[in-house]
C-alpha cells in the first residue's frame, strides 16, 4: 500500500505506508536489535531499543520513500538510542568509534532481508540442537546478562575456559547456520 504526501505546493512524492514500514522493520528486527546490542551489550535493552525505533518510525513526521531508507534510518536511530541508553544508565561507551559502527551497519544493510530472515530461522533451529550445557552458558551470558567472570563462577570453571567455550560455541552456531542454508539451497534447486 502506498500513499502520497505533499512535498511542496506543486510536487508530490511516493511514500511507503505504515504497514510497509512495520513489515520492513519486523523482517530486519534481529539485525537492528543486534546492531543496538553491539552498542549497549544488553539483549533486553537492545529489544527495547528496537521497539522504540519501530514506534518512532510509525509516529515520526518524516516519510520514507523506500524500504532501504527505512532500514538505513532504523540502524542509525538504533545506534543513537543505544548511546542515549548508555548515558542514562551511566555506562561506559563501547569504545568503538562511529566509523566502525557505520561499517557494521553497512554490512548488515547489504545483506538482503530475505537472506537475513533465513539466517535467523536457521539460527533458531541450531539453538534447539545445542546440549543443555551449551544452552546454559549462552543463557547465563546473554539472557541473564552475567559477565564472563560471573558465568565462570556459576559454572565453577576458569575465565579463559569460558571465553574459549563461548568462542567455539559462536563458531559452531555459525557453521550450523551455513550448513542449514546450504541444505535449503540444495533442496530449492
Amino acid at each position: 500500500m502506498s500513499g502520497f504526501v505533499p512535498v511542496n505546493r506543486y510536487t508530490f512524492r511516493m511514500t511507503i505506508s505504515e504497514q510497509d514500514i512495520l513489515r520492513t522493520l519486523m523482517k530486519s528486527r534481529d539485525r537492528i536489535a543486534a546492531a543496538a546490542w553491539v552498542v549497549v551489550r544488553d539483549a533486553h535493552a537492545a529489544e527495547d531499543i528496537f521497539q522504540n525505533v519501530a514506534l518512532k518510525a510509525l509516529t515520526k513526521e518524516v516519510s520514507f520513500e523506500s524500504e532501504g531508507a527505512v532500514l538505513s534510518w532504523a540502524f542509525i536511530t538504533a545506534r543513537r538510542e543505544g548511546i542515549d541508553w548508555l548515558r542514562r544508565h551511566h555506562k561506559e561507551s563501547t569504545g568503538l568509534d562511529s566509523e566502525i559502527l557505520e561499517l557494521l551497519e553497512q554490512e548488515w544493510l547489504c545483506e538482503t532481508a530475505r537472506r537475513g530472515e533465513a539466517r535467523m530461522e536457521a539460527l533458531r533451529a541450531c539453538l534447539k540442537e545445542l546440549s543443555e550445557k551449551s544452552s546454559r552458558l549462552l543463557r547465563l551470558r546473554y539472557f541473564e546478562g552475567n559477565s564472563c567472570g560471573e558465568v565462570a563462577k556459576k559454572l565453577g570453571t576458569g575465565l579463559s575456559a569460558v571465553y574459549k567455550r563461548l568462542s567455539r560455541l559462536h563458531q559452531g552456531l555459525k557453521e550450523c547456520i551455513e550448513l542449514r542454508l546450504d541444505e535449503s539451497r540444495e533442496t530449492e534447486s
Binding site: D30, R31, A33, A34, A35, W37, V38, R41, A43, H44, A46, E47, Q51, A54, L55, E92, G95, L96, D97, E99, I100, L103, L104, E107, W108, R119, M120, L123, R124, L127, L138, R139, R141, Y142, F143, S147, C148, G149, S160, Y163, K164, L166, S167, H170, Q171, L173, K174
Partner: protein
Amino acid sequence: MKDTESRQELLLRYLDDNLLPEEKAQVADLLRRDPKARAFLREVAEQAVTVADVERVKERRRSELEARQDWAGNRREALSRMGGSRTRFARWPWAVAAAAVVALIASVVLLRPKAEPKIVQITELNGAVRWTGGGGQVVPDLYVGSSLPGGTLESLSADSWIDLEFRDGSTVTASGQSVMTISEYRQKELHLHVGSLSASIMPQPDGKPMLIHTPTAKLEVLGTQLNIEADASSTMLSVNKGRVRVTRLADGSVAEVPAEHQVVASVDHHAELAVTRRPKPVTAWQSDLATDGLHGKWLPKPGDSNGSLRTAPLLWGCHEKPITLYLVALSVSRSRPIPVLLTSRGKLRIRGRIESAGDVYFGLTTRHVKGGFAGKFVVERHFEVVQETGESLDIELGFEDFRPQERELTEKFPERFPDSPVGLELFDWWCCTINEDAGLEITHVELDG
C-alpha cells in the same frame, strides 16, 4: 586457526569489558581493517539477541502457566471463604488455553510489550465490546477466556454485555452502553464512567475495600451483591447483599446502604442523600421519552410536552462485517428508581411512526430480582407502509412473544439466562431496524402488568 581463535577471544573479551587500554586500540584497529572480525562481531550480536529472545518466550510460557495455576488457586481460596459453590464454565480450560496462545502470539509476533499483571478474565461476552489498555492499545476483538491487565472496557451497544471475573472470584457484569476502567494496585478499583453494572464482590481483605468510583459518588465495598447505574449527573445504587458505604462527591456526605436498600447520589447536594428500602417492584411502567432516552434522537413537538425518539445509527459487531443498527433505547429506571417486574399477564404497548416497510426488532434487557444480568429478549415484527407519508405504528406485545436473544446461552446456563422474561426485572427497552433506516420514531412505550 589458532589466530582466528585468539582474535575471536579478544573480541569476546572486548564485549565483556575485560581489555587493557592497549588491547582496546588493537580491537578497534582489527575491526576497522578485518571484515572477518566484523562478521564475527555481527554473528555474536545476532546470536546474543536471539538467545535472549528464545529465553524470553520460554519465560513467558512459564509465567502464563504459573498465572493460570495461581488464578485457579486464588479462586478456590475465595470460594472456600464464602463457603458457597459457583457455576463452573465448561469452556474455561479451553478458553484460557486459547487466550494464552493469542496473548503469546501477540506478544512474540508483534512488539513484545512488557508483561503487565492480569487483573480480570472475560468469562462471557456478547456484542460490541472494546478494551483499551494502559498504554493506549485498543483491542476491539475480545474473547471469552482473555485475561486483561488494567484498562478501560467499553460495552458499545444496547445489546452488548460482558462478564468479568477477578482473581478472587469477584464478578462484574457490564451491559448496555457502559464505560468502565478497572485497576488493581493496592486494592480493586473500578471507575464506572457511564452505564450500568451488576457486581458480586467476594469478601475483601481488611482495610482494602473494593472502590467503585462514578462521576457523582465513591462506593466502598467489602463483599456484597449490588447494582449500579451511573451517568454524569447521578448514581443509583441498589444493594442486594452485604453493605456499601457511599460518599456523595458533591458535598462529601456519607451514607451506609444495607442489604435490600438503595440510594441515589446526584450532583444536587441540596437533595437529601436518602437511603430507602428497596421498593417493592411494580408491574406497570410508562416511558418518559425525554428523560429515559439512552439512544436515539429526541424530537420535541412544538407546543406539546410529548415529543418522539427517532432511531439513531449505531455500528454493531467488531468480529465480522459490522452492521448498522438504527436504534432507540430507553432506561426503565432513570425517571423512577422503582424495579419493574415482568409478569405473565404483562403487555407492552408501543406507539410511533415508521416511514418505510421493514422488519423491526423489539428488545428487553432484564435482570434478576436480586440483581444480576439475566439476558436480553427480542421479538421481530414486519411492517408494511402503504402511504407515502409513512404509517402509524401501534402494537401490543405479550412476553410470550419474546425469545432469548442468545439461545445458546440459555441452553448452557438456563438458571442465569432463563428462556422467558417473565419473573425478571425490566432494565431497559429498545427497538431497532438493521442496516436500513426505516425512519422509525417512538412516541410512547407502556407496560401494563
